[in-house]
Symmetry: C2
């Protein structure tokens, strides 16, 4: 299955600005992207980068400068289905997770992210459309119901964890097993577990 | 399978103090507990409350005033195995989730929570011990490895979502389908989706 991975390399992960410089954020975003590409390939998927600008990666790239929802809808309309869309910052995803997503039954299979996001989906329906603003997960259920599609929710902690905040980095240090975890450790990050609440600190 | 549900009714959910009075927090914690009891029963499990004080609920109750880890370890030592431990604040858990946990293979099946927590587990090993301080998930893996147990991770967004913070309430309004969601709506809570980041507000 073709697995499109949306990505935007310009000023990424702004909510990590307190911990990482802009250059580091770009580098880290690319490292997370590499982890996602790796697990998609290991799962037997065909990763295709859907990027707002050209990125030097050894896979097929579609450059689309438009808003995420517009770009993804264009992919749905113009691809041979089924396809999957998997966000480029799912840094603790495993190949088993992606395989389960690809293999799931249902005309539209959706993976919720924290706070109403939609971190990944598979569609067998060319008339499905996305709208990533706000509580996109609820909107996507409405849209899928509106076209009478059979919807399935895929319940996955690892796929629900997109990396946006400092707290999210904790999940990588605990559950990661790819380059993103190595990158954070090399950059001096470690877990502070002295108190009840776990924190991430930098040397 | 016996499913023990740890619970502490005195001054619960202090991180929700900005949104809820102490009385409301107690009431809401009990409503979440009822949701967990319901899904355990629907999953074919036998719910047993492991509470720090007496609570009026129509199921078996074990009152143990000691620290959570001590109380849970005592349960593991003194129960006929396998048993499950499922936290009382997993308000968006479904009976399918709990059934999957109960049915999972592995001598110790663990469900990670956000930030290193352990939200649920099943043990077939009487020599397994818990330590809920700090990054308990990593500690529990170490302990399980130390006794040579076969460990399995159960990957579930819904079971990984324990309700501690205001942001967690958003997950109930989006993904809940029990009393907890009703309670929040009746108490006037709603989602503010006007901006990019989803917020929870109260009328």
């Amino acid at each position: 299955m073709q697995v499109f991975i949306p990505f935007s390399p310009s000023n990424p992960k702004t909510r990590l600005s307190g911990l990482l410089t802009k250059e580091e954020r770009v580098e880290f975003a690319l490292v997370m992207l590499d982890d996602v590409i790796n697990v998609v390939e290991s799962a037997g998927g065909i990763p295709i980068l859907l990027s707002t600008e050209l990125v030097a990666r050894d896979i097929e790239i579609i450059v689309d400068e438009r808003q995420l929802s517009v770009a993804v809808n264009s992919i749905i309309e113009n691809s041979e289905l089924p396809i999957a869309i998997v966000m480029g910052d799912l840094a603790i995803a495993t190949s088993e997770n992606v395989k389960k997503l690809i293999d799931a039954s249902g005309e539209i299979v959706m993976v919720p992210g924290r706070c109403g996001g939609t971190n990944a989906f598979v569609t067998y329906r060319s008339d499905f459309r996305v709208d990533y603003h706000g509580t996109s997960y609820l909107d996507h259920i409405c849209i899928a119901e509106g076209i009478g599609a059979e919807i399935k929710e895929m319940d996955s902690f690892r796929l629900s964890t997109d990396i946006d905040t400092e707290e999210d980095l904790i999940e990588i240090l605990i559950h990661g097993n790819g380059k993103s975890k190595e990158w954070l450790i090399d950059a001096g990050f470690y877990l502070d577990i002295k108190n009840e609440a776990v924190k991430i600190l930098r040397r």
